[in-house]
């Protein structure tokens, strides 16, 4: 592997010897003057391009002086072609206009399709907030994760849930970042809303296959959500008022061209009215959530910028009779972006993430308190060196100190206290990486290597398990002792070959390693699912993914067609043993087993990105299987994410310049679950009772899932852009009131004693109306 690194460095260095002209600068939104990150700047004559960085900065290294045409494109913006005279090194900033659906502009090109065609990555999906907002809302809220779930290869793990599965992976195998900080529970209301307020999102990128080597720690995907930059132009705001929730964002310059800020908030208040209900079960209940986001961006000088952003949100659920249940997420990011010279820049991040959950309640003088938390403190430093027009080298490091505290549960009664102390873990997860993006004519390569290290740190008591995975003792480790270490090399590589006009073939390989794991028994998802770190009993999970793709754009990138296939080989995947004791288990390692897995599939996507009608049609065939000794008699079985067929149809149509309609129809094979197929009589204690017998794990399926959502948006200014703009959005979730299974229970008829399966479904049709405003 060292040779590979050496070859990479030598190859890239050799290109830096040529003389060249450097054009550098920033790309901004023409109105708000917000920098546009990850926008595409393409040099038509050279058939190559660069992507702007976190600050919207770009650097073009041109081999020869001359006149060039730059194509500037960004999702949700009108693409612009600009001629430049590149006779000497120069700074040049550009501006793009937003693709305002309400304006009568002719959009000629889109960058999304072009980028997908050319970039040497498979399985990457980028959604701008303008695309996300085109989708129908659920309970009045457009949601980035609901939008992600409509992409091929991505599925919701259960009805209404913000939890998702990517290419057959488990929900915990997705690394979800907001401004670089990890989010451990991205859901509000047990999953019906995500924690991401769409007003603050700039874009969301989902890496389904080739996760960048700068990131690791999860097997399946990276969902990288970047928040917007505040307008540097004027004070402005936007928000929405709905029947059950409302939101508001305020933004503007604090010091013109130096300091900008925005602050956004959202509150769900439908649950606050439950105490007014005549239903006694609801009368004593309180249900609410809120979240707050803020970002401060400072331009220190031409070469240095500083950003501070944060998120905090909390769900609160209380019942007079029983107690309360709340959980919260907080994240913080401090980013320093520095341009060392025209071709070399550095991003330094200090990151924090905190996740807490609490269950408390009482019955008489019996009371219960369960408090648990995750704390994650991270540091990353990323270097980018644009060596020449053909080579872009990135390298850096990351480290993260994680404190996983499953909590203490305490029961108090008049005559005593009983306590359960759950595992508490301290870990350090670090990584070094180097990668290069290289191009030769119509061939583009991206290759890199990540070296990850994971440490368990004392004090800790680690269980000793016998061959049957049963506890036979424990070993104590002292305060601050690095008592267990895992190392892994994670090579990742991809290439794209535009073998014919507007057609490309791609191939990639990536290896990912996961050191912390979410143990859960149900995909319904509760905040009480346990995060557990690798240790002397739990090996890190690994995944080797091979992907192939064919991409075709036609009609000037108006339409795109892609077919991507993948095969994943997984090792040390975890699952609970049969009849595991899950809740409040002090010895949880005893209850999990590891084995191997495989997932494979093919994703078809047909997309229309320009014109009054936009949308996509996708079909995915995928399988996700596990083989774990001790589970399902050691035979291969379906993981909970194994849903072979999935179809998404998404459409948005601008009827005129002030009415916009959108629809989405989703279909997926039913989720696997365990069901009894046999029963025996058991009469040892007198009355004859039936015991259900389960012949295997996840051997049956819930009914297929499908749903249609519709929405219509009326611009109240009738398409004329004014100082104060507003619209009304009317949405219908699950239009034809399909009863989709959330969970299935097995019951016995009181009258006949016969057994039957009973499905719980959460929603029929859910209408919502939201008034949105912008000023």
């Amino acid at each position: 592997m060292r040779k590979l690194v050496l070859v990479v460095l030598l190859t890239t260095l050799s290109f830096s010897l040529f003389s060249k002209v450097t054009i550098k600068g920033y790309l901004y939104d023409s109105l708000s003057k917000e920098p546009l990150l990850s926008a595409y700047i393409f040099v038509n004559e050279l058939k190559t391009g660069v992507i702007t960085d976190f600050d919207g900065a770009y650097t073009l290294e041109l081999d020869e002086p001359g006149e060039y045409t730059l194509r500037l494109s960004y999702v949700g913006y009108v693409t612009s072609n600009v001629k430049i005279q590149a006779t000497k090194n120069q700074n040049k900033d550009f501006f793009l206009e937003e693709d305002q659906l309400l304006l009568d502009e002719v959009v000629v090109q889109t960058d999304g399709a072009r980028k997908r065609l050319e970039q040497p990555l498979t399985g990457v999906e980028r959604l701008s907030i303008s695309e996300i907002k085109k989708l129908p809302a659920f309970m009045g809220e457009v949601d980035v994760i609901k939008a992600i779930q409509a992409l091929p290869g991505v599925q919701s793990t259960s009805e209404g849930s913000s939890s998702f599965s990517v290419r057959g992976g488990a929900p915990d195998q997705n690394l979800i970042l907001i401004d670089g900080a990890p989010v451990y529970n991205a859901s509000h209301l047990l999953g019906f809303f995500s924690v991401f307020n769409n007003d603050i999102i700039n874009d969301a990128v989902l890496y389904k296959g080739d996760m960048p080597v700068s990131h690791g720690g999860r097997l399946s995907s990276l969902l990288d959500i970047n928040t917007k930059e505040a307008s540097n132009d004027k004070f402005s705001g936007q928000g929405g008022i709905g029947l059950i929730s409302s939101r508001l964002l305020l933004e503007g310059p604090i010091v013109k061209d130096r300091l900008t800020a925005w602050v956004a908030g959202r509150v769900f208040y439908a649950g606050l009215f439950l105490p007014l209900s005549s239903d006694p079960a609801l009368e004593g209940t309180l249900l609410t959530f809120y979240d707050l986001n803020a970002k401060l961006s400072a331009t220190i000088n031409e070469k240095n910028r500083l950003f501070i952003s944060g998120y905090m949100g909390e769900d609160y659920f209380a019942s007079n009779d029983m107690g309360n249940f709340n959980y919260s997420n907080k994240t913080a990011t401090l980013r320093w972006s520095s341009i060392i010279d025209s071709s070399f820049y550095v991003n330094t991040n200090f990151l924090g993430s905190w996740y807490n959950y609490y269950v408390g309640g009482g019955v008489g003088d019996l009371s219960v308190d369960w408090d648990a938390a995750i704390q994650d403190y991270g540091f990353t430093q990323d270097y980018t060196w644009v060596i020449d027009p053909h080579n872009r080298l990135t390298f850096g490091l990351s480290t993260s100190l994680k404190l996983l505290d499953s909590g203490d549960a305490k029961i108090e009664q008049g005559f005593g206290t009983n306590e359960i102390t759950l595992p508490r873990t301290t870990t350090l997860e670090s990584g070094l990486y180097v990668a290069n993006e290289q191009s030769y004519g119509q061939l583009k390569f991206q290759y890199g290597l990540r070296f990850s290290v994971f440490n368990n740190i004392g004090p800790q008591s680690e269980m000793l398990l016998d061959d049957n995975h049963e506890k036979i003792g424990s070993v104590e480790y002292g305060e601050g002792e690095f008592y267990n270490t895992f190392y892994n090399l994670e090579p990742r590589a991809g290439l794209s070959w535009e073998f014919y006009k507007d057609m490309s073939l791609k191939a990639s390989y990536s290896r990912t390693v996961q050191y912390i794991h979410l143990l859960q028994t149900t995909t319904a998802g509760t905040p009480l699912d346990v995060w557990r770190a690798s240790n002397t009993n739990i090996e890190p999970e690994t995944c080797d993914q091979f992907s192939l793709g064919y991409f075709y754009n036609f009609d000037r990138d108006t339409y795109s067609l892609s077919v991507e296939g993948y095969y994943k080989i997984l090792d040390n995947v975890l699952d609970y043993k049969d009849f595991a004791t899950v809740l409040l288990n002090e010895d949880i390692d005893e209850e999990v087993l590891n084995g191997t897995g495989r997932a494979y599939g093919v994703e078809f996507m047909f997309r229309k990105e320009l014109g009054n009608f936009t949308g996509w049609l996708s079909y995915t065939y995928s399988r996700s299987l596990r083989t774990i000794p001790g589970v399902n008699d050691g035979k291969e079985y379906s993981s909970i994410s194994d849903r072979p067929h999935s179809i998404n149809i998404v459409g948005n149509y601008n009827i005129n310049n002030w009415i916009d309609i959108a629809a989405i129809w989703v279909y997926a094979t039913g989720q696997p679950f365990s069901a009894p197929d046999e029963r025996v009589g058991f009469a040892d204690f007198g009355a004859n009772e039936d015991i259900p017998i389960y012949s295997g794990r996840n051997q049956y399926r819930m009914p297929d899932y499908h749903r249609l959502d519709l929405s219509v948006t009326f611009d109240l200014n009738k398409g004329v852009k004014k100082k104060y703009n507003h619209n009304i959005n009317l949405s219908f979730y699950n239009v034809y009131a399909r009863h989709n299974s959330w969970q299935i229970a097995f019951k016995e008829s009181e009258d006949t004693g016969s057994k039957f399966a009973e499905m719980t479904y959460l929603f029929t049709i859910v209408p919502s109306i939201t008034y949105n405003f912008f000023f």
Partner: protein, 324 residues
């Protein structure tokens, strides 16, 4: 405590769960398998071994049983119960002794080839555990509370080695006990038998302290019959020490039955038994030791009318120690 937290969480989730409806599932047709189960205990009694077969989970009707089997315990033949039903019984004074090995042998022609197959299992009788104390306490502090008004707590000495505990709870009506002692099982559900698995937290060979049961103010005996618990009723708690395989079978069976509420249920699997061959069921032994306590009076639990009906108009004189 885990059950309390589960109850709390389930109440939250229930608010989000809007509707339920029966559904048809495409479940495989499974070939019937032989089921053998039975236990022995340390109290003189008639004990039974059942020989039956499994059926499809959703199939209606009673399950098949075998009245033509030969059943032996330590080579002594058991007799078919007069009611049949695949039930084979010991003598009425059978007693299992601590530390002794008991071997079950069942011969039955399950595959109907004219030859009886032989199935065996064995278990060692565990040590009887002495209860040191049983206390029934009122935990209700507010008349509006609707959940369990009482809890029972017992203490005992944990014997050496691995022990697998379970418990039975009985409520005896004092009013009826003079004429006819009525021992009501607390519940008809299997979960009551091994409701509390004590394993894991007790220190070897030390005093163990355990919140054994929450006790409601009524016991549902059947869909038609409810038993109201009153002050001065007797609570009898029977502590059992199970042979390991049988305990595993009971525990896993209980988990399998939690499919009625899968959200917090453990992942189900094949229930493990200890009968030889591809046979379902288990054979085991458990010890019995009992202790009794009286249900205390609690002002927040019973109405004046209830107390009058039960103890007469002067009921307050029975509880003169300021317990009101």
């Amino acid at each position: 405590m885990k059950k309390t937290i589960q109850l709390l969480l389930l109440s939250f989730v229930a608010l989000l769960s809007s509707c339920t409806e029966p559904i048809e599932l495409d479940i495989d047709q499974i070939s019937p398998r032989l089921m053998i189960s039975g236990y022995l205990s340390t109290v003189p009694d008639t004990y039974s071994i059942y020989v039956s077969a499994s059926g499809g989970f959703f199939e209606e009707g009673s399950l098949p049983f075998y009245n033509d089997a030969d059943v032996f315990i330590n080579s002594v033949a058991l007799s078919l119960h007069p009611d049949g039903g695949g039930r084979y019984v010991t003598a009425s004074d059978f007693v299992a002794n601590a530390g002794e090995l008991y071997q079950l042998e069942v011969r039955v022609d399950f595959d109907q080839d004219g030859i009886k197959e032989v199935y065996t299992a064995e278990a060692v009788c565990p040590e009887t555990v002495g209860i040191l104390d049983l206390t029934v306490s009122s935990i209700r502090t507010d008349p509006t509370e609707t959940l369990f008004p009482f809890t029972s707590t017992l203490s005992y000495m944990d014997p050496a080695g691995d022990n697998y505990y379970g418990a039975h709870l009985y409520i005896t009506h004092t009013k009826d006990s003079a004429s006819q002692a009525i021992k009501h099982k607390f519940s008809d559900q299997l979960s009551s038998y091994a409701l509390n698995s004590f394993a894991g937290s007790e220190t070897e060979e030390s005093y163990a302290f355990f919140v054994a049961y929450f006790i409601g103010d009524t016991v549902t005996l059947s869909s038609e019959e409810q038993l109201i618990i009153y002050p001065l009723d007797t609570v009898e708690l029977e502590l059992n020490n199970f042979s390991e395989d049988y305990y595993t079978f009971i525990s896993q069976s209980k988990s399998s039955m939690s499919g009625g509420n899968p959200l917090f249920a453990p992942p189900p699997g094949q229930v493990q038994g200890n009968i030889s061959g591809d046979v379902l069921g288990a054979f085991g032994i458990y010890t019995q030791s009992s202790s009794q306590a009286v249900v205390p009076y609690d002002a927040y639990t019973w109405t004046d009318d209830q107390m009058k009906n039960r103890f007469g108009v002067n009921w307050k004189s029975l509880f003169e120690e300021g317990e009101e």
